[in-house]
Symmetry: C2
Subunit: 343 residues, 2 copies
């Protein structure tokens, strides 16, 4: 390639507006050239994530500043170093970090933020995109969510929301590996539910969009849910809470159902935390950045032993990034959403 294709932020979306190409400007600029202490990475894969919508809503995110209008849209990904004026980063090496929605990014290794959010990939998986998925951040999120926030115990009856998503599909499998007695997933279609049971080995799956969701939960968990790994919130959380068991744990991973909904009412049934002497624990995977290696080693071992299936849902082409992110909110993905940009 001789140009650097880029998605620039054109305007921020309205409250309920889906992400679309119209929010961005597609431009072609020159491939950057590194100055001393810098290097340039060619993007191979980007990892669409729900947080990306937050980059476009000033004042919304508690973790990230918005991306200013006119700048390249922010995004994590994996690429190959194609030019370098930094002694620690050699041409040809693989790099994971904030690459942006573009073919080429200039990286400037300095400051704590760089140290705690980027890394070189020295033993790449095949395909290397797995480093962004179940063998990377999705799997690590599921791992620490279950083990730290959820304090998973042998024999637990576990429920996973957004179970067909990247984190959820990993969480269900890891729960089984950690000795759960029963692993059940929630998903928004019968096709996804079948996929969870038949392909990923969940014991059962429940379609939360059907009218009998509550009754299905009661039937599936007659003795209650010991651990609920929740990335959804909203009505799903409300419906689940009355079904938690004594001393249950809710691992709070996210709230995609109400993330951009100002009418959020909170978990109406939170009193069941008291009734059941239960806990709800929030966590952020980046708090465990220094322990990513520990989790990634385990995830690779489990995968090598055939215990952990990897499932990628690949969108082809940088031009489709807006839709790839929107798919996460529409619930269209089976497994980890990845956008293949080159390679």
């Amino acid at each position: 390639m001789t140009v650097n294709r880029q998605w620039l932020v054109k305007r921020y979306p309205a409250q309920d507006e889906p992400l679309s190409n119209g929010l961005f400007d597609w431009t072609e600029s020159e491939i950057p050239v590194p100055a001393s202490g810098e290097f340039v990475v060619q993007t191979l894969y980007l990892a669409p994530g729900p947080a990306m919508r937050g980059y476009l809503e000033p004042g919304h995110s508690h973790f990230f500043s918005p991306v200013p209008v006119g700048e390249v849209m922010r995004g994590r990904g994996i690429g190959r170093i194609v030019a370098s004026e930094h002694p620690d980063y050699a041409i040809g090496e693989l790099f994971l970090g904030s690459l942006g929605w573009q073919d080429y990014s200039k990286q400037i290794p300095r400051g704590k933020e760089f140290v705690f959010s980027t890394k070189k990939i020295t033993k790449p998986t095949d395909p290397v995109s797995l480093e962004l998925g179940i063998l990377g951040q999705s799997g690590v999120t599921a791992y620490f969510g279950l083990t730290e926030a959820g304090n998973i115990q042998t024999g637990d009856k576990v429920l996973i929301s957004a179970a067909a998503g990247g984190v959820g599909s990993a969480a269900g499998q890891i729960a089984r590996i950690k000795g759960a007695y029963k692993v059940v997933g929630l998903a928004g279609s019968d096709a996804k539910c079948r996929w969870l049971v038949e392909e990923l080995g969940f014991d059962a799956a429940v379609n939360y969009k059907l009218d009998d969701f509550d009754a299905q939960l009661a039937k599936t968990f007659p003795d209650g849910i010991d651990l609920f790994f929740d990335s959804v919130g909203g009505e799903v959380l409300n419906t689940v809470l009355p079904h938690i068991a004594q001393n249950a744990r809710v691992a709070l991973c996210g709230f995609i159902a109400t993330d951009y909904d100002d009418t959020d009412k909170g978990p109406i049934n939170y009193r069941h935390l008291l009734y059941k002497r239960a806990s709800m624990q929030g966590f952020i995977v980046f708090d465990y950045w220094e322990r990513f290696g520990e989790a990634e080693t385990l995830l690779r071992e489990w995968h090598a032993e055939g215990k952990l299936k990897l499932c990628e849902d690949v969108t082809e082409g940088l031009e489709n990034m807006p839709q790839a992110v929107q798919d996460l909110f529409s619930g269209n993905n089976f497994g980890v959403k990845i956008c293949k940009v080159a390679g």
Copy 2:
């Protein structure tokens, strides 16, 4: 006394109806006589509690069955054994248990429920009513709520809701004893706020009914709240959640603000549990029944050392029990609400 005065349940209250004498029938019956294996207790003190309203709302409580219409209203208290046909319970001994809203109750010691909710008082406090308050269940609730559900740490900045109540007034003082860096109470009047600071040694107190509640929290906790001991819920919890610190803990003791409110919306700001990697842990003091002695010993030591002030708000007379319970919902009490029946 030659008769047994009793409050019988006449009807259940409507949704928003306060407790009043009109819900009960005041009757006088004969003093019961124990059969073999039974004994009779004369009520000295009753402990009005918010749970009592739940006894009058079928289907509401997750812990107790409702008291049937026509039966004596349920209530815990302390009394003296005045007749006994049981070898382990002697006339003259003090007994703590479910006495009911009446002068004399027949006790039948059998079954697990009796074992786990009654006891003889062998070293009575003076007055013995303290056994129902800060040296008893109120203090024990505060103790296990802080140490177990709240996992209190030296240096914590602690906020207590319903701080002028029985449990709250104990919790604030125990938090100080356990090494809290700052102890702040929430109360519903300026008089109570002054009382918390001047009499009980809280570092500060905030009137949650004033318009600047949120601003006062921000000013009082510029670095956030490490531990929130909450018995209130509702708008108080909503307002507090954005002020929690990283890794904060919310000890969920109750939700008196919305306990009998069907329009409960849940803690809108529960997402701060995720933003702050915080937890909310529900607890029930009766789970610690077998450890009550451990807590009661500490509470007495602290009281003897002058570290723990005892504050009772005594209503005189069995005839005033309905109002004494209603006072808890109206926020009229300073400290532990006690009803003195005889003695």
